[in-house]
C-alpha cells in the first residue's frame, strides 16, 4: 500500500516536473502568466472605477487574479490533452500502467502553482496602476483558501481533461468556455447580478467558490471563509470521483473508436 502510494506520488511529481520543464520553454505560456493578468486587472478594476464603484477595487483584483489562474488552468484541461494528442504521446500515456487522471493531476498541479504568478502580477498591477489599498482581513484564511482554490480548480480541470480525451478540439472548447466561466463564477461581476436560474450552474464551478472564499478572507463579503473552504474540499473530492468514473468510460470509448491518435 505504502509502495503504491509512493509510486503514485512519484508519477505526480514526475508529471509536475515534466510539465514545468515543458512550460518553461514555452514563451506563449510565460506571456499568458505575465501579460494576461495585467489586461484582466486593467479591465476589471477600470470598469469598476469608471462606474464609480471604487470600493470594489479589491473585489476586482481578486476576480482578475482568478481569471488569470483559470486561464493558466486552461492549459491543463484543454491544451495539455490536445498537445499530447498532436504529439503522439496521448496513446503512450493511456497505455502506460499509470491511470491517466493521476498523470493529469501532476500536470495540472504544475500549471496551477505556476498560475500563482498570475495572482502576484494581478495584485502588483492593482497596487501600481490604480494605487489600490489591498488590505486582506484574514491573511491565514486567504492563503488556505488560495491553496484550496488551486486544488479544486485542478480537480475541475481533471473532469474536463478526462472528457477532452474524446475530442480533437479540446483547446477550442476551453477557449470558448473561458468567458462563460468568468461570468458564471462571478469573476467579472457579482453573482447577484446573474438571473436566478443560472445560479445552480455557478454553484458547481470551482472558480465560484474559490472567488467567494478569497473574497470572504479578504473581508469583502460577510461569509465565513473556513466554511467555504470546507465546501471547496467537498467539491474537489466530488470532482475527483467524477473524473475517475468518467475516465474509465472515456478510456473504453477511445480504445473502442481508435480515436486517440486522430487530430
Amino acid at each position: 500500500m505504502i509502495n503504491r502510494l509512493r509510486s503514485v506520488l512519484r508519477v505526480i511529481a514526475g508529471s509536475f516536473t515534466m510539465q514545468a520543464k515543458e512550460r518553461a520553454t514555452n514563451q506563449f505560456f510565460v506571456g499568458t502568466l505575465l501579460v494576461l493578468p495585467i489586461i484582466f486587472t486593467l479591465l476589471s478594476v477600470g470598469t469598476y472605477l469608471y462606474g464609480g464603484k471604487g470600493n470594489f477595487g479589491l473585489y476586482a483584483v481578486i476576480g482578475a487574479g482568478m481569471m488569470g489562474v483559470w486561464n493558466a488552468n486552461l492549459w491543463t484541461s484543454g491544451r495539455i490533452v490536445e498537445g499530447e494528442r498532436r504529439g503522439g504521446t496521448l496513446s503512450m500515456l493511456i497505455a502506460s500502467p499509470t491511470p491517466f487522471p493521476i498523470i493529469l493531476v501532476g500536470k495540472s498541479l504544475s500549471n496551477a502553482f505556476a498560475s500563482l504568478i498570475s495572482l502576484v502580477v494581478t495584485f502588483a498591477t492593482g497596487l501600481i496602476a490604480f494605487r489600490l489599498e489591498l488590505d486582506i482581513a484574514n491573511p491565514a484564511a486567504f492563503i488556505v483558501s488560495l491553496l484550496l482554490t488551486l486544488i479544486s480548480m485542478t480537480c475541475f480541470g481533471l473532469v474536463l481533461g478526462s472528457t477532452f480525451v474524446l475530442t480533437r478540439n479540446a483547446g477550442d472548447f476551453m477557449e470558448a468556455a473561458n468567458y462563460p466561466i468568468f461570468i458564471l463564477s462571478g469573476l467579472m461581476f457579482p453573482l447577484t447580478i446573474l438571473p436566478a436560474w443560472l445560479r445552480p450552474l455557478s454553484s458547481i464551478l470551482a472558480p465560484t467558490w474559490g472567488n467567494l472564499a478569497l473574497g470572504a478572507s479578504a473581508g469583502l463579503v460577510a461569509d465565513n471563509p473556513w466554511l467555504i473552504d470546507l465546501y471547496l474540499i467537498g467539491l474537489s473530492l466530488a470532482y475527483l470521483m467524477i473524473a475517475q468514473t468518467l475516465f474509465k468510460k472515456v478510456e473504453y470509448l477511445v480504445r473502442r473508436d481508435g480515436s486517440m491518435e486522430v487530430f
Partner: protein, 326 residues
C-alpha cells in the same frame, strides 16, 4: 505459456462520408487473425500499407480494442487484464511523434520510467544503460527537437525498454531512416532479442524482416496470407530465377508480351530518372534471357543480370506486384 496468442481476431473501423447527409461505413481492418508467438522469438509482421499491421500492434499493446475474437499477451487478455499486462510490455511506434520534443532525451526516458512505476534506484542504473545501448549517451541532455530522425527513433526504443518489458512491440521502427541509421537500429533490435526479449516487429522492408526475424507472417487486406520462417517463405520462389534488365522507353505492348510469356511468373517495373528496371521472375531464367531481350527490342537494353530470389520476390509472388507498390 506463449508470448502472444491471437484467436479469430477482427477489427472494424467506422467512418462517415458526406457533409450534410452522413453515411456510416464500416471498414474491416483485420479479419479472423490467428497467430502464436513463442517466448524469446523475434517475429515479423510483413504487409503493404493499410494491410492491418499497425492495427494489430495497437490491439496487442492495449491501445485499441478488437471488434471480435481475442488476444493474449503473456497469458493476459489485452482487453480485460490491462492493469497487469501494461507494466510488462513495451511499444515503439515508428515516426517522430510520441516524444516530448522540448525535453531532453534523458528527461523523456525518466518520465516514462516514472509512468511505468520503475523504482528510482532501478531507473538510475537502467537509463544510462539504455542510452548507451542505443548510442545516445553523448546527446542525452540535449533537447529532442535537435535530434535527427534516427536519434529520435533510437530514443523511442530506449523509452520502450525502460520498464524492461518481456514483450516489445515495434511498429515500423526503421521507417524513413537512412541506411546507416536503419542498420544501427537493426543491430539494437537483434541485441535486445539476444537478451531474451520477445519482439513483435512490423515492417514493409523485406530485407529487414529477412535479416532479423525467426518467423514471419504476411498480412494483406486484414488477413494473414502466410506464416513461416523467412527461408521457408523463400522456397516459394526457389524454382525461379530473377532476371533484372535495365533499359529505357519500355512500351506497354512489350511489357504485356513479357508478362504473357510462358516462362515468366511475374514482372515488376521500377522507374529511375527515365530508365526502367525490370525484375522478371522466371523458371530457368538464364536460358530465356535472349528471348526477353528480343521482346524488349527497341527499349535500349543496357544491362542484364540474374540473381537468386529474395524474400521480396516471394512476397511479390504471394501478394502480387500491387502490394509492393502500395
Amino acid at each position: 505459456m506463449t508470448a502472444i496468442k491471437i484467436e479469430n481476431l477482427g477489427r472494424i473501423f467506422s467512418t462517415t462520408t458526406g457533409t450534410i447527409r452522413r453515411t456510416r461505413k464500416d471498414i474491416t481492418a483485420l479479419e479472423n487473425i490467428n497467430l502464436v508467438v513463442e517466448p524469446g522469438e523475434l517475429f515479423g509482421l510483413l504487409g503493404p500499407n493499410g494491410a492491418g499491421k499497425t492495427t494489430l500492434t495497437r490491439i496487442l499493446s492495449t491501445v485499441l480494442l478488437p471488434s471480435s475474437g481475442r488476444a493474449e499477451v503473456l497469458g493476459m487478455d489485452v482487453v480485460r487484464d490491462t492493469k497487469k499486462l501494461r507494466p510488462r510490455i513495451g511499444m515503439v511506434f515508428g515516426g517522430e511523434r510520441g516524444l516530448y520534443w522540448r525535453l531532453s532525451g534523458r528527461d523523456n526516458i525518466q518520465y516514462f520510467a516514472d509512468l511505468y512505476l520503475v523504482p528510482p534506484e532501478v531507473s538510475r542504473k537502467r537509463i544510462p544503460e539504455l542510452l548507451d545501448l542505443v548510442g545516445l549517451t553523448e546527446r542525452a541532455d540535449e533537447r529532442v527537437e535537435g535530434y535527427s530522425r534516427g536519434m529520435k527513433q533510437k530514443l523511442h526504443i530506449a523509452r520502450g525498454l525502460v520498464n524492461d518489458p518481456d514483450v516489445l512491440f515495434l511498429d515500423e521502427p526503421t521507417i524513413g531512416l537512412d541506411p546507416i541509421a536503419a542498420r544501427e537500429l537493426r543491430a539494437v533490435i537483434l541485441e535486445m532479442n539476444k537478451r531474451g526479449k520477445t519482439i513483435f516487429l512490423t515492417s514493409h522492408y523485406m530485407y529487414e524482416v529477412d535479416e532479423l526475424c525467426q518467423r514471419v507472417a504476411v498480412v494483406n487486406k486484414g488477413k494473414i496470407a502466410l506464416i513461416d520462417t523467412p527461408s521457408a517463405f523463400k522456397t516459394m520462389v526457389a524454382d525461379l530465377e530473377v532476371v533484372e534488365i535495365e533499359c529505357r522507353e519500355v512500351s506497354p505492348e512489350a511489357l504485356a508480351r513479357l508478362r504473357a510469356h510462358p516462362r515468366v511468373a511475374s514482372v515488376t517495373m521500377e522507374n529511375h530518372e527515365g530508365a526502367q528496371s525490370l525484375q522478371i521472375q522466371s523458371p530457368g531464367g538464364v536460358e530465356s534471357i535472349p528471348e526477353f531481350v528480343r521482346i524488349l527490342e527497341g527499349s535500349q537494353v543496357q544491362k542484364v543480370i540474374t540473381r537468386q530470389p529474395t524474400l521480396e520476390d516471394a512476397y511479390v509472388k504471394l501478394l502480387g506486384r500491387e502490394a509492393l507498390n502500395s
